[in-house]
Amino acid sequence: MEQNQPSTSGLRRVAIDPISRVEGHGKITLLLDDENHIREARLHIVEFRGFEKFIQGRPYWEVPIFVQRLCGICPVSHHLVAAKAVDQLAGVDRLTPTAEKIRRLLHFGQVLQSHALHFFHLSSPDLLFGFGSDMAKRNIVGVLEKYPDIALKGVKMRKYGQRIIETISGKRIHGTIAVPGGVNKSISIAERDAMLADIDDILAWSQDALALNEYIHGAHTEHYSFATIRSNFLSMVGGNGELELYHGGLRARSATGDVLFDQFDYCGYRDILREEVRPWSYMKFPFLTALGKEQGWYRVGPLARVNNCDSISTPLAEAARKRFRDFAQGGLVHDTLAYHWARMIETLHCAESIQQLLHDPDITGTDLLEDKGDRRKVGIGVLEAPRGTLFHHYEIDDDGMVAKANLIVSTTSNNQAMNESVRAVANEYLDGKEITEGLLNHLEVAVRAYDPCLSCATHALGKMPLTVELQDSSGSVVSTLLRSADGEFCAAP
């Protein structure tokens, strides 16, 4: 596995800032020589700056509420993983069946809506229109115009997931359903029935979305190698090796499919994972300790999860998983664009799981809280967020205030892989060519496959749009292009 080489001077720099249609802001820098040959490609992402400071000093029982403010796309994931850590702090090792199932239902709703957003809103424009197509239509509005049926299903699927979140947590955002030792609200029969009313449609649309992605990936052979890299994979699995999004042990596979470790208790994550700091990036570069930083980087998220697991507990998604694995003829699927396919397998699994849980009598139970035990100083929560394995680690003082916090978010785990994919695309598609918007979008397509969440829950109008800057070998800026929010390039004044 190759890595980006250290920077060299005397090159021309192209900066793409921010990357469009990913959550938050990132920048790609290309270093070109005078012949337009790619010397280096780097993805820079602003991580959860200030997160630890934001959490420190707060009462531990409030943490699941506050961490929702970290991200506008996956607040529920942060809420639930923090709740798992806080359960430990409160001395609770096992929830009541109703509490665990309500939390799982909430999580399935979150993953469903996040995956639906990613495919229909962010990635389908590239996949349906082509990576280099007219950017005036290469967006969700263009999809709505040309493929209204597809786009409308996406809108409704995301809305359904949001409705589950609102029903369970009582609010559209800032819900506070998970509390130390369980949940604070039951689901009424009427609420359950309302959620059941639309699930058949959601199931059917999930199958349609899966079929579409399966077709797109199969029919476009150029997608097989696009941004594709060979990597290790990390994810959580259930006790029988099944796909598991809420609670289980950690499993890692090498690029050839060998199991590196399995059913590893995530509370010991520091024994198997380390994070490297590099001077040119805010974001760390995690790696599997046993393999070292050069060989130990890995991928997380849908591609990792569907590759890593031995089975999926719901029948339609399991059949889809088998087709997915057959595609690799018994090996692992390394195609980066197969992230989209895997994401839709998981979406179908979420829809099936939601249906199962809504028919489970425990889901409307009223035994919501487990008695607290002796307070502990350390709590570690891990779950599979839409984008991959998410770690929350808290340590508290004698007064129950958070003294230390550490997160490893999914996008951080994919950091090296995204850099490798960007470099692969740059070398294949941009090397030696004049840089155009269509070619630049190829880089963004590679990044978007990973669905990176860049922690920017700030929505403010008037943000600076994309900037492309060219520097000559002396470091002087020779030209600058600005891309406005309407997608048009113009020369900088």
């Binding site: 921010p18 469009s20 249609r21 990913v22 959550e23 938050g24 802001h25 959860f48 700056r49 200030g50 997160f51 400071k53 934001f54 506050f66 403010r69 970290l70 506008g72 796309i73 607040p75 957003l117 229909f120 809103h121 962010l122 950017m135 005036a136 290469r138 967006n139 969700i140 509005v141 709505l144 115009e145 209204p148 786009a151 409308l152 996406g154 809108v155 995301r158 809305k159 949001q162 559209r172 955002i173 920017c456 829950a457 700030t458 929505h459 403010a460 109008l461 008037g462 943000k463 749009p465 994309l466 891309r483 929010a485 309407d486 997608g487």
Partner: protein, 152 residues
């Protein structure tokens, strides 16, 4: 029965001046608005929010703005087919356009109240300048609401 007037705040209370819109909404809620007005908020404007516009007569979007005139700017907005380049930056104008695509009819009449903000870092509180702008913008939002209700 869907309340005919929607005020939709966009922002994250834990990111400095991004709290402007949610705080404005909180002030309106404390004043009591009756059954004809619904207040909603979210971190970001997303495609599925078209569903929140259905059945409305008037919509007011409220958002922090990093570059508008101080203290605020209120304007009527129209549907625009822009290419809001990140999902979290989907503009109210683009949402109105998406509404037409989804429902096959024009979106309800919409206004955008931009409140000038200055800092947006995680964990920051509202800046002094933004607090002053919030007071002015809140008063203007109340006027807008009174005007709307007067002609209904």
């Amino acid at each position: 029965m869907t309340p005919p007037v929607l005020i939709f705040a966009i922002g994250n209370e834990s990111r400095g001046d991004d709290a402007l819109a949610p705080m404005l909404l909180r002030g309106l809620a404390d004043a009591g608005l009756g059954s004809q007005v619904e207040l909603l908020e979210d971190y970001q404007l997303q495609i599925e929010h078209v569903a929140d516009l259905a059945g409305r007569e008037r919509v007011l979007f409220v958002d922090a703005d990093m570059s508008c005139m101080e203290p605020f700017h209120l304007s009527r907005i129209a549907s625009e087919k822009d290419s809001s380049y990140t999902s979290h930056a989907m503009t109210p104008h683009a949402l109105l356009h998406a509404y037409h695509q989804v429902y096959g009819e024009d979106a309800p009449g919409a206004f955008l109240l931009r409140v000038r903000g200055y800092g947006f870092e995680l964990g920051e509180s509202l800046s002094d300048g933004a607090a002053a702008n919030l007071a002015a913008a809140s008063a203007r939002a109340c006027e807008w609401l009174a005007d709307i209700q007067a002609v209904r």
